[in-house]
Symmetry: C2
Subunit: 159 residues, 2 copies
DNA sequence: TCTATATAGCACTAATCTAGTACCGATTTC
DNA sequence: GAAATCGGTACTAGATTAGTGCTATATAGA
């Protein structure tokens, strides 16, 4: 299955908590406790998010992390991208692979991967941290709604 | 990064070749040779795709594999789903995990994962094997078509 | 019927990646 | 100066992926 790592999963959990904290700085320890996640992991993830510019950090006693931008201006794609690198679904569509894939000569698909990546990226880009940090939507989710009649989100314009 | 396995990657390569073969049955060995992929892997992948109902197989001499449906009726989601299982981006959003995630009590995000999965699923569902088996689109990909116009493919954009 | 060809299914191994931990240095508050 | 907290790097165990091998079964044709 298409999977994100647990790091990105946790990252979203932490970001949603920070979104609710309304720009109040929270320490790694506090976040780990609130979300019931292992502190070392939380610490590592927050460092990465800070380096990516999604969080601002304050060192020292009473320090902590807070969102660098308003929750509406942060997307799922931002968070996942920060923790897992660029959203590239196959090796050959990653950076630095343009033209050096050993199979490229026999691969007509290569030109299509960017579109697929694009579609997934748009889907993730269309979901903001603001939305995610709201309580459960409580809408029953149709899992295989077959191309039509999907509630509006970025994935409605797949390509 | 969000990744599919190499198995699914190869699977799409093989399916596009079969789509071009126009219902002519091709053996695993022939496909492996055409796509320059290791035969045992090709063989394993084709078996899986056949079991999933995307390919029909013919045993014995002169046997081989051919598409079970027209290329327009097969999507990237079908192929990836067949080879990697259901498209579930986190463990807790997989089937059978409804309600047994140990962190669910502290996780307001859980209700949003189905939407994210849905968005990705729709994106992959919207890309047919017919489209993928056409030669390279050669169109520069618009990067954020909804927001701004950046001309680069997804992998050029580390987010 | 025999043989060559080809898929079906399962089991196995090596390499890679992920999850999680540990340590030490730098910075800030009190 | 002490305590709290972030910053960075390195490390380990376990899980996953990639790829291989073997045996059984089905089919076409001589």
């Amino acid at each position: 299955m298409i999977r994100i790592t647990r790091e990105a999963d946790y990252g979203i959990l932490l970001m949603t908590y920070l979104a609710q904290a309304e720009s109040q700085a929270l320490s790694a320890a506090a976040l780990a406790q609130q979300r019931h996640l292992p502190l070392p992991m939380v610490s590592k993830i927050l460092k990465t998010l800070a380096r990516a510019g999604l969080l601002t950090s304050q060192r020292g006693a009473l320090g902590g992390y807070s969102l660098a931008r308003p929750p509406a201006a942060i997307s799922a794609a931002d968070i996942i991208g920060a923790l897992e690198g660029p959203i590239a679904i196959t090796e050959c569509s990653e950076e630095g692979h343009d033209g050096c894939c050993s199979r490229q000569a026999y691969c007509e698909v290569s030109g299509h991967w960017p579109r697929i990546n694009q579609a997934i990226f748009n889907a993730l880009q269309g979901i903001s941290l603001l939305e995610m940090s709201r309580p459960d939507p409580l809408q029953p989710v149709q899992f295989h709604p077959l191309r039509q009649t999907v509630t509006a989100n970025a994935a409605d314009h797949p390509i």
